[in-house]
């Protein structure tokens, strides 16, 4: 275990040197986050498909329970039960468009993880940094439970549990627990827990701050112990169901899957689940008595329980939908937690947008009208009134708005249209619009996928580390 301990020490120091300006020591937050003996217990695995590059290089790294797809390199890093999903990386010959620039991609893009510690983290999408087109770097960075690094190169950063950084290059930043940042480029920022920030310079700026006294019930993270709260309790309560899918080598789907839909073999499917055409269910998704209509999807770390999604609904990475009925074309953003009850259903009208990192937790029935934008923390109709607005009204904002804990500056119409475009792109990429010939996406491309496993040293000084491994076609 000696080498593993040294590796963690080295990573901590590298992160701290980057965060010294913010006077932040990550050591007490990550030193005991995962007992090092856990790093020996789990194999890592990678996917092989004809549709994605197969190019892996693992050096001096611990990869316990982690999944890899595409072109990925790790060096001097520790990854624990993380998903490094390189199925949306740029490919040689693509053209990257940014402002007035059109830059050809000269080689396949790769995810490059160096001197970093990722715990139960999802890495997905492609680098949106116009200065780093072929390398999606994650360097001197630590991320904790259920964080999402989505299209966001990172250098010298710390992400708290359930934090998401989306389409943003970050340098020397702290992203607090359950914070969502989509701001293009940030540096030397300490983003407080529960901040939801979406900014497009010269177009709009959306900032919501969760009330910390209420948020602590859902996610509470302090030095010296793993995260606690409702979110962790919910996930941990279903942990055993995942053990079976990871322990068994050959698993037949327990539900009928149409030929144009995709159900990952590392997803948990419980009884009375229905999967319709063009549906995508990613690894580590959890479905129980879930009705997924045509083109709906459940991405990594999503939980859909006793709920019905009518179709073309996006359940973004880490979102949880419990005891709810969703109309068509609804977007549920990253890590959102929507929980109704058997006697208190949550109903969401079609074409609504649930902002990333929204919490709706009700013990009386609640209905969100169609075409609404919803954000924040909602436990009753009064909260809904304060934290939602029809998309039509939101589009009329021109200037600024302060509404409860929300501050918005800019053009509401551009904000709504940016979200609608993004939702359309997600559905398209996931294959929701596949017509049998055209518009093939992940739901169709991820069907014929096989998995190989790799193992760490089981004993000795290198215990928990994986040998240097290079995998090519």
């Amino acid at each position: 275990m000696n080498e593993l301990e040294k590796l963690l020490d080295r990573i901590v120091q590298r992160i701290n040197i980057n965060l010294r300006e913010l006077d932040y020591d990550v050591s007490p937050f990550i030193k005991n986050l995962v007992p090092l003996n856990q790093m020996v217990k789990f194999y890592a695995f990678y996917g092989i498909t004809p549709h994605h590059p197969l190019n892996f290089e693992f050096r001096h790294s611990s990869l316990a329970g982690s999944y890899f797809l595409g072109k990925i390199r790790t060096g001097n890093s520790m990854l624990y039960k993380s998903d490094i999903r390189g199925d949306e990386l740029k490919q040689r010959g693509d053209v990257f468009r940014y402002q007035k620039f059109e830059i050809p991609i000269s080689r396949d893009e790769g995810i490059d993880i160096e001197d970093s510690f990722l715990v139960k983290t999802l890495v997905h999408n492609y680098s949106h940094d116009p200065e780093s087109l072929e390398k999606f770097f994650i360097k001197d960075t630590a991320s904790t439970h259920y964080a999402n690094i989505h299209g966001s190169p990172s250098d010298g950063c710390f992400l708290g549990p359930f934090a998401t950084v989306d389409l943003t290059t970050m340098r020397d930043c702290i992203i607090g627990a359950f914070s969502y940042v989509q701001a293009g480029e940030i540096g030397h920022l300490n983003v407080a827990p529960g901040t939801v920030w979406v900014r497009s310079p010269d177009a709009f700026n959306f900032l919501y701050r969760h009330p910390l006294d209420k948020l602590n019930r859902y996610v509470d993270f302090a030095a010296g112990r793993p995260p606690q709260g409702v979110f962790i309790d919910f996930v941990e309560g279903r942990k055993e169901d995942f053990r079976r899918v990871f322990d068994v080598v050959k698993l037949e789907p327990s539900v009928l899957v149409p030929s144009n839909a995709s159900l990952d073999r590392f997803a948990v499917i419980k009884p009375k689940t229905r999967i319709s055409e063009n549906v995508l269910v990613a690894q580590r998704a959890y479905l129980q008595n879930a009705w997924l209509g045509k083109g709906a999807n459940a991405q990594e770390n999503c939980y859909i329980v006793n709920s019905r999604l009518e179709g073309f609904d996006v359940t973004a990475h880490g979102a949880k939908i419990i005891e709810a009925d969703l109309g068509k074309n609804i977007f549920v953003g990253f890590n959102s937690f929507l929980r109704g009850g058997s006697e208190s259903r949550l109903t969401i009208g079609q074409e609504s947008i649930i902002m990333p990192h929204t919490i709706i937790d009700v013990n009386k029935p609640l209905t969100i009208p169609p075409g609404h934008l919803v954000w924040g923390l909602i436990t009753d109709p009064a909260d809904l009134e304060l934290n939602s607005m029809s998309l039509e009204d939101f589009s009329k904002i021109d200037g600024g708005l302060v509404h409860g804990n929300l501050s918005f500056e800019g053009h509401g119409a551009r904000f709504v249209s940016a979200f609608r475009d993004r939702i359309h792109h997600i559905l398209e990429a996931n294959g929701a619009y596949f017509d049998g010939t055209d518009k093939r996406g992940h739901a169709q491309k991820n069907q014929k996928i096989s998995f190989n496993t790799i193992q760490p040293y089981a004993d000795g000084d290198l215990q928990g580390l994986f040998p240097t491994i290079m995998i090519h076609p």
């Binding site: 701001a183 920022l189 901040t195 700026n205 900032l207 701050r209 600024g400 804990n405 501050s407 500056e409």
Partner: protein, 186 residues
């Protein structure tokens, strides 16, 4: 520029408004009123109150802006407003939010009554290095320090002990006087 020395322009400490540490803002305002009546007939001359420790040493200065700052609403939302700039909101947006919050807060009368009970220690400014000047220094040096530090006054020392305060208005009057003299000679 002139032959003026700081000690010739300063207001001696004995004539300036002072209060002991631990006093309330209301005590400070009363002290200011008192010196205006007793020592000075120029309406706006004294703009600050000096805070003294138990050994009668100056440990801070409470200016008019510091008193007004004490009237600002103190609630959790204020932190949120301050954070807006960090998140890329424009200064005009932040200003409007502040105005909105101010209008939503209690009427000025209520705020003043509450603020009067606050301690001067929480709002005073500790003297900074560039704010201290020796009494033997020339007017030129005083002008330099006032301009560089954007100060409204300087604390004057003799043998490292604060003995008076040099006000911007007095320095300006001296400069104005010197200008007029030059004009006459020319």
């Amino acid at each position: 520029m002139s032959d003026f020395l700081v000690k010739e322009l300063m207001v001696p400490l004995s004539e300036y408004a002072t209060v002991p540490e631990g006093s309330t803002l209301f005590d400070a305002v009363l002290a200011l009123e008192q010196v205006q009546v007793e020592f000075d007939h120029t309406k706006y001359k004294h703009r600050a109150v000096l805070i003294l420790d138990q050994d009668q040493r100056v440990i801070g200065k409470l200016g008019q802006l510091d008193v007004l700052r004490a009237l600002e609403p103190k609630n959790e939302n204020l932190g949120d407003i301050n954070a807006l700039s960090q998140y890329g909101f424009s200064s005009s947006f932040v200003r409007n939010v502040r105005k909105q919050r101010r209008l939503q807060a209690s009427p000025l009368k209520d705020i003043c009554s509450k603020a009067a009970k606050l301690k001067v220690d929480d709002f005073m400014q500790a003297p900074s290095e560039g704010e201290i000047i020796d009494q033997e220094a020339s007017l030129e040096i005083a002008v330099l320090q006032l301009v560089m530090g954007h100060h409204l006054s300087l604390l004057v020392t003799r043998a490292r002990k604060i003995v008076g305060i040099l006000c911007l208005t007095d320095v300006f009057a001296a400069v104005f006087h010197t200008m007029k003299e030059c004009e006459i000679i020319l």
